[in-house]
Symmetry: C2
Subunit: 381 residues, 2 copies
């Protein structure tokens, strides 16, 4: 198997938008796209068991290279049979390169041409992450989909700094691909995705997309979005990137988004999403509904016997708002579990609806109506 | 239905010990005794869903009157259909009277002859709990088994103070029974248990047991144990009480205990137990095994691919000690969930084993061998 194997099949392309209905083959099973991928940073999707993830229809989850490499270390996970076996998740796993967290979490980092030196945020230990290292770590983890090392420019970003980041990211991407080929990565059934940077500079994004597209990666991510920029700017950046990505490869926007953002990006031709939002806000008492998020801390839910939503059916929607509010107010772990389960199910089910509407050919009108209802009904978080 | 209805059936009494194999009928189902009851203080067994409780074989759970009456209040729970419906647990529920927490948690409490005045530990609100109030609250909750209000003497306790507490508890018990009868408690299928106090004074315990036995309660609890006294003293107090309780009523020691303590009390004729120990220590990384508790924080489990125990099969035992240790070290909620599930399953399964051995007629030798192995193998917590 090589990075060029036809692991991705386009089942249908929408006529009214750039939305795509696809199927991605991995070593641990097939993923129906568009898809949302729950985030399992530290070898666990916070507050849920693997059985609960299956129950809500999760097809693929994320692991976090930076965190797992620090603790328990990728060597230990390899020794215990890889990340799937370690966490008892036998479906596909995507891991990031760890680069993003080096920039956001690590201390005393030093950017070099061959990678980035940093100190662990846990114990100050000195570490280095370069293209070879991120491929080796993701080999150890046994990731079905690995990401290249990149430099994610902040927002806003001066053009010169952005050009340098794009150039460095391009070199690292090529080095990651070479390292993957040399070490039998693709023969083991693992996939490697490139990441397009370029901040708000359309021409830099196009250049990055085209030069990475010329290399034969398994898929392509739009990086450097949702780093502080306003939503229209974010969507504009995605729109400035996807047209220059190969049509027959999966496309992934990293770290996104709200439900309407995901639907709008699907309309721009994006296939894959991941975001900590649904699970993180769950732990703060927020539940998603087709009419916007519901803040269960709100006093008005105190005596409310209704479920979070009458239109959504999952394990959590058997409970009243009153009970869920009680759990949240009392700081009970079960509140985190039930709301995480609900929110992730809401995201996964939204993707299932999106797939059905792309197949049915009415994605354009459906997603506009869905966003309109969600955004107009949105309660204040 | 009255408190005297034959809701409890002794299936077998052990010849080698005072152990009993029984069956307790409640409005929400039958309980096979001896039984352990997971504690669901705030309308949730911490970190588990009702489905997970069912999966590990929970037959009956506890709710906590003091906590639920403060938040969300028993009136609100009644409005939402009672505690079973509120928390979506359709099996039996036992609630305590709230008295114990008034003494251990509340601020500025004032003991009166007709009850106890106190301030909420949550918001300082002034409240009063008397015999009528605890019956009314437990009516609101819809408890299958309610407990009388009592005064639990501390350990150690002067004889005069203990005598006063026993006398006050006896008056309150009779007043609770009267209030229950007047308000249709038994007609609704609810049961009411008395509580025997008496601290370390055998004659006071015997007197309390006999005078409460003369009243027709649905069951009898041994109270005031595990309040700081050494284990031999605790077992002695249970032994000084059970012989004077009616044989045809269930017996319950409140707030107990370790696995060997429960087995030893079963041998003394106790049928029911509850304890926060297995769930509380789970949240600190401790897992029960037939060879004693395992502290998963210990460095020696870092690379250990084995399950918590080779002899125990539940959802948690598919995971390695290494993974569980990782979750505990990383402070992940899933660690709490998986270890709570394991520990409660361990307790429930131990009770299932005890029931089988009482039926088989070898409880005496089996429970001695079990305790010996557990206590000799016990790792340092």
């Amino acid at each position: 198997m090589s990075a060029t194997a036809s692991h991705f099949h386009l089942i249908k392309t929408d006529s009214g938008t750039a939305a795509r209905r696809g199927r991605l083959q991995t070593a641990h099973g097939t993923i129906e796209t568009p898809i949302f991928m729950p985030v399992g940073t530290q070898a666990t999707v916070k507050a849920l068991t693997p059985a609960q993830l299956r129950e809500i229809g999760a097809q693929i989850i994320l692991g976090n290279t930076y965190h797992l490499n620090l603790r328990p270390t990728s060597e230990l996970i390899a020794e215990l049979g890889g990340l799937h076996r370690f966490m008892r998740w036998d479906g596909p796993i995507l891991t990031d390169s760890g680069g993003f967290q080096v920039f956001s979490l690590a201390k005393l980092r030093k950017l070099r041409d061959d990678g980035v030196e940093f100190h662990s945020h846990l114990d100050g230990r000195r570490l280095f992450l370069g293209p070879r290292e991120v491929v080796a770590i993701q080999s150890n983890l046994g990731s079905d989909i690995a990401m290249v090392l990149d430099e994610c420019p902040p927002w806003p970003c001066e053009r010169a700094a952005c050009e340098a980041a794009v150039a460095r990211s391009a070199r690292w991407a090529a080095q990651c691909l070479a390292a993957a080929r040399e070490t039998g990565f693709f023969e083991r059934g693992q996939l490697l995705f490139a990441i397009v940077q370029g901040s708000t500079y359309d021409d830099l994004r196009r250049g990055a997309a085209e030069s990475l597209a010329a290399l034969d990666f398994s898929g392509y991510a739009v990086g450097g979005v949702s780093v502080g920029e306003p939503e229209p700017e974010m969507l504009k950046q995605v729109g400035a990137t996807t047209p220059f990505l190969p049509a027959h490869k999966p496309r992934y926007t990293m770290g996104l988004g709200t439900p309407p953002q995901m639907l709008k990006m699907i309309a721009q031709g994006v296939d894959m999403f991941d975001c900590v939002l649904p699970s993180r806000v769950a732990r703060h008492g927020l539940a998603f509904t087709p009419d916007g998020p519901l803040n269960l801390r709100n006093e008005k839910h105190r005596r409310d016997p209704r479920p979070i939503s009458e239109e959504v059916v999952n394990y959590t929607t058997q409970f009243s708002r009153s009970y869920l509010r009680h759990l949240v107010q009392a700081g009970e772990i079960l509140g985190c579990t039930l709301l995480t389960l609900h929110n992730l199910h809401f995201y996964l089910d939204l993707m299932a609806q999106a797939r059905a509407h792309i197949e049915a050919g009415d994605y354009a009108s459906w997603h506009r109506a869905w966003c309109e209802r969600y955004e107009s009904g949105a309660q204040r978080v």
